[in-house]
Amino acid sequence: MEYNWDWSVLFQVPYFGWLISGIQWTLLVAGCAWVIAFLLGSLIGVSRTLRNPILRGIGAVYVEVFRGIPLLVQLFIWYFVVPELLPQDAGMWVKRELPQPEFTTAVICLGTYTAARVAEQVRSGLQSLSGDLSNAGRAIGLTERQNYLHIRLPVAYRIILPPLTSEFLTTFKNSSLALTIGVLELTAQSRQIENYTFHGFEAFTAATVIYLVITLSVVAIMRGVDRYLRIPTNAGGSS
């Protein structure tokens, strides 16, 4: 292989700044998407365990649609197709006035996609709880809502913490797809450094290391959270 290695490009102006800005966008996209994914995913997950058949149906359709379509295709649909389906004025607003259109689109897309996956984990967490827990809640006079908020969900979250952690990691990695609609996150910035310097292997090695550092830090933090929250009688995280 004929290749001139030169690691110093990574620390030159402006390429170093690009990497830093790429890290910030990656963290921002993944972080914001995770907030949406966690909240929406919990709602959908809960709705799939309710008795109401309409809410259960909505939850099931949501999960199957968002889980079943490749993320790249969803990104393209959100960015190029959805604005065309809106009324003309609203469509123009989305295309021109929306602040940071590519960032907002990426966050919504990644958030709603990950929400479908979080929902399945929340549902399985809730379904793994024994009926005694709900009965105990009812016995002390909690409403169905209070039962979910104060008893079933907190316990379910503790059980599903390990799979939620890997979902969180996947969100960081999936955020790299946002470059296809023009978000200049870490992968995009590495490409840009490659385009300007033609030292792509160095740039992508740096990106690889940075992604690893991010994901390993997340793993370390989540492991701490897991240790802190673990249900004493439930060491393995399964009942």
């Binding site: 004929e2 290749y3 190029f80 470059l179 200049l184 840009q192 310097t197």
Partner: protein
């Protein structure tokens, strides 16, 4: 000295392998040696660079650069004295340099500008087209030059020379409030323009005409402004293999001098009403080196 049958067998095999080894060693070019060994040439091509290299109606890559490359593949076959199979590898502006640098492709047929900084990683054959950056916009947008971009949105393909030319022009002329949308390829840039997400898209002049030609309403679009960069296109070849590059260049000179180059040019550019520029004509004449 006496040999048993097994020893004679080994000796025969060992002797038989000597000429085989020599057969590969006769190419000082690594690329040619590899092609002769595998019987396969890996040709990188673009997918939406009309009319240089794009996917035709039957799903195969076609275009001006592709036709030039097919002539080169023939020359390679003549050189090594065997038929080779073409393995088409789709490339885009981001992947073409690394794939050439790491040896995945032996030849790139697209619309790649020959730049000195790129020559640190790859080599180029002789120039086969000359163009420059211009702006594509809708006729009713009111944009007539790069100065009119103030307050407007423009899409630029990541990793192209045009991206840098436009950004440099905006900076140089102090044009304020230009919103830049980064897109992946020409087709996505055109889609952004078509759906009014941006007011303009910019790439090489000739590619813009190609995009207009494939548009649903070609009359709605116009190419405006002066050239913002000088972009000589050339086929890309691996670095540090001058014997292979010589073969490629000799083939091109053959096409230049026989007039076949002009036939190929007319085949692809006449439908777009782009006659050969005097600049390219001069380049062809000066690059027609004597044998």
């Amino acid at each position: 000295m006496r040999f048993n049958r097994l020893q004679i067998g080994f000796l025969t095999v060992a002797l038989a392998m000597i000429p085989l080894g020599n057969a590969f060693a006769q190419y000082s070019s690594q690329v040619l040696a590899r092609i002769a060994e595998d019987g396969v040439i890996n040709v990188g091509h673009r997918e939406s660079s009309v009319p240089f290299a794009y996917i035709g109606d039957d799903g195969e890559p076609i275009g001006f650069s592709i036709d030039l490359c097919l002539n080169i593949v023939e020359a390679v076959e003549d050189e090594i004295g065997m038929d080779v199979e073409i393995n088409w590898v789709a490339v885009n502006p981001q992947t073409r340099i690394p794939l050439m640098a790491n040896g995945t492709i032996d030849l790139e047929c697209g619309s790649t500008t020959n730049k000195l900084s790129r020559q640190e990683q790859v080599d180029y054959a002789y120039t086969t087209f000359i163009t420059g950056t211009k702006i594509l916009t809708k006729r009713d947008s009111g944009i007539n030059s790069v100065d009119d971009l103030a307050g407007k949105a423009i899409a630029l393909a990541q990793g192209t020379t045009n991206e840098r030319a436009i950004k440099a022009a905006i900076e140089q002329r102090n044009i304020s409030d230009v919103s830049i949308q980064s897109v992946r390829d020409h087709s996505e840039g055109f889609l952004a323009l078509e759906t009014d997400r941006v007011d303009a898209y910019s790439t090489d002049d000739v590619l813009l005409f190609g995009l207009i030609d494939k548009a649903r309403n070609p009359d709605d679009y116009a190419v405006v402004g002066e050239f913002l960069s000088y972009d000589p296109y050339a086929l890309m070849v691996p670095k540090d293999d001058s014997d292979y590059r010589l073969l490629v260049n000799r083939t091109l000179v053959g096409l230049f001098s026989s007039g076949e180059f002009h036939e190929i040019y007319d085949k692809w550019f006449e439908p777009l009403s782009i006659p050969m520029s005097s600049m390219l004509q001069t380049a062809v004449d000066t690059q027609t080196f004597p044998e």
